[in-house]
Each structure stands twice: as structure tokens, then as C-alpha cells.
């Protein structure tokens, strides 16, 4: 890390790549489902599965700002943080703010449920199905598909909330959160820890994701 504080790294490249790929994939997955392009919906869904699983593993063995344990600890200070926001007292956070941590957990939960139900979903004709639907009956697959559709609305609502929150930070609190999610860096925070992609952690994560993908694709 350079001495220049303007170059403090807060988000490693895997987190940034993950974030923007999800931004790209959510509308694409919605669109392929609407258009009935189920081959593509399945392919993109498996890509989404790989991304989410990677993020979940990275939350355990990844770089410091990606880790779940510090984020869970930060949840306790959500009320105090929100009071601070209202009074315009809070400075920028190194990594996820308390309420940002809550948002990450909510979004990851909704995304995990969406991908998880998608794996087992069956369409109304029994023609199209997720790669793991082979393990369950038509009726159960239909019920899961209904939940898949309901949960998508919840996911969209959470995304809308997320975008509104980022806009409030930008225009009301004068804190640009988008740029750091692109460059990974911001100039106004004290680094609590070094953000670094450890090669062994990256390899381990990729191996776990690849093995899981392989198991799903060959479940038939």
C-alpha cells in the first residue's frame, strides 16, 4: 500500500468483479425468463450460482472487508449508526458500514434463495427444469417455482432499496459509494486492515466453486 491515503484500498478486485457481474446478471436473468429463453436462463443461473457461492466462501476466507464475522459484529451498532446518519455525524466507513452490512446480508440471502430455488424449479408444462429438479416431483418443483417467482419480487425490492440508499449517500450525505466499488479505493478512510487477495484463498475458493458446479451439472 502506498503512503498516499488517497489510494487506500477498501474493496479487492474479486468483490468488485462480483458486484458488477451481479448487476449485469440480474436483469439478464429476468429478461431470459420473461422471454422463455430457458437454455440461457439455466446457463446464466449456473453462473449466478458460482458467483454467489464464491462470495459466500470469500466471506469466510477472503480479504478483510469481505469477511462476514466483522460484518455480523457491526450489526449491533446499526441503531447508533442510523441515528448518526440522521444527525449527519457519520464519517465514511472502511468496508461495510453497519447498515451496509445489513444490506449485504439481506441481498445475499435473497440471491441465495433465488439461485437455490431456481436449481429445483419446474415450469408449468414439465418441459423445462433446473438441474436439480430431477431429484423432486413435478408438484414440488412447481411449488418451488412459485416461490422462485415470489422471491424475485423481494430481490427486486431489496435492489431498489439498495440503489435508493446509495443515492441518499451520494446526494444527501455527499458520500460517493459507487466510485470505490469501481476503483476499489477511497481517500478519506483510515485502513483498519490490509485488503489483499491471498492467492491460496483465491485458489481454495475457485476449487470449491468448481467442484460444486461439477456436482450440480452431473446430478442427473
Amino acid at each position: 500500500m502506498t503512503a498516499d491515503r488517497a489510494q487506500t484500498l477498501v474493496w479487492d478486485w474479486t468483490i468488485r468483479l462480483f458486484h458488477w457481474l451481479i448487476v449485469l446478471l440480474i436483469p439478464l436473468m429476468w429478461w431470459t425468463a420473461e422471454e422463455g429463453m430457458m437454455d440461457w436462463h439455466r446457463r446464466l443461473g449456473l453462473t449466478m450460482f458460482a458467483l454467489i457461492l464464491f462470495r459466500l466462501v470469500w466471506g469466510v476466507i477472503g480479504s478483510w472487508t469481505a469477511r462476514f464475522v466483522p460484518m455480523i459484529k457491526r450489526l449491533r451498532s446499526v441503531p447508533a449508526y442510523v441515528r448518526g446518519l440522521i444527525a449527519c455525524r457519520n464519517g465514511p466507513s472502511f468496508g461495510h458500514s453497519p447498515i451496509g452490512s445489513l444490506a449485504v446480508f439481506a441481498l445475499l440471502a435473497a440471491l441465495s434463495i433465488q439461485v437455490g430455488t431456481g436449481l429445483f424449479s419446474v415450469d408449468v408444462d414439465g418441459l423445462e427444469s433446473g438441474p436439480l429438479a430431477i431429484l423432486i416431483s413435478f408438484k414440488t418443483g412447481r411449488e418451488i417455482a412459485d416461490f422462485h417467482e415470489l422471491n424475485f419480487n423481494i430481490l427486486v425490492a431489496l435492489v431498489a432499496l439498495h440503489i435508493i440508499a446509495v443515492a441518499i449517500y451520494r446526494f444527501v450525505l455527499k458520500d460517493d459509494l459507487v466510485r470505490p466499488m469501481v476503483t476499489g479505493r477511497r481517500g478519506d478512510v483510515e485502513p483498519v486492515s490490509t485488503v489483499k487477495v491471498r492467492p491460496m484463498a483465491l485458489i481454495a475458493s475457485v476449487v470449491i466453486v468448481a467442484a460444486s458446479l461439477y456436482a450440480i451439472i452431473n446430478a442427473g
Binding site: L127, S129, I134, A157
Partner: protein
Amino acid sequence: MKTLRVKTAAPAIAAVMILTACGESGGSEAASEASSEAASAQLPNGMTIKEQIEARQGQLEKVGDAFKAISDQLKAGSPDIAVIQEAAAAVPEATQGMADWFPEGSGPESGIDTDALPSIWENMPDFQEKVGNMQEAAAALNTAAQGGDIAAIGEAFKTTGGTCKACHDDYRLDD
């Protein structure tokens, strides 16, 4: 734990959901307001409307089971032809007489939970033709299945699936 989190978040975001969950409902609201007397009314075939709706749902669920069974086998590395043959034989059997399953009054106006759209009764000749197309394709699928040629089965399966979709697109709520 995850489910719980989403559930607790749900009421708070209900307002936003209204914006996103468009293109649904409408028909079902009118249905729930209809009197339940209509549901127990006798149809000319001797069944009540409720019985008629539940009977056709049960039959179409059998078709769903059969289609999923065939789809699962076709996706598998080495399809079990016996499973495909049994499922393919079940489709013509389950859909026999389907043209008579939708008597006047057995739509959503009955107040019974059904995904059948009122457009069925507005376009009965077209609906009947589409049902006929499906039965024809299902018979061909059964013939192909008993023949045992996987490639031919795959083709016939696609064709039959297309006839399901053709009807569902116009005459079934949602999806």
C-alpha cells in the same frame, strides 16, 4: 435463518413490490367474490363445478408428472427407455376427452381456484382445436416412445411440449 430474514423484510418492502409485480391478478379477484353456490351447482354431465375443476387439475398434473419424467430422462446421460415409454403412454390416457373438461360455468367466475382464463369460453373453437393438436402430438409421442429411438422421442417431445405451451399462453393465467 435466511428465510426468516426475507420474511421479516417483506412487509416493509410491500410498497415497492406492488410496482414490480405487475401484469398479474385481475381475474382471480372477480373469482373470489363470486358466490359459492355456483361451485356446488350441477353441470349437465352430473359433476359439480368444483368436482369438474379438480378433476381436470388432477389429470393435467398427471401430464406434468409424465412430462417431467420424460424431460428428466432426456437430460440424463443414459436415458431409461422404459421410464419414457410408461410416461409417454400416460399422456394420451390422462388427456382423453379433454375437450369436455371445460363446460360453460367452470371458469374463474365459479369462485373456485382455477388458472383457466375466461378467454377459453370466448374462443371455444380455437381452444378445442389446440386441445386436439395436443392429443394428436401426444399420440405421436407415444408411438415414438414405443419405437425406442431417442432422437425421434426428443423431437416428438418438443412438438408435444409446443402444443401445451400454445394453449397455456392464451388460456392459462400467469406463466
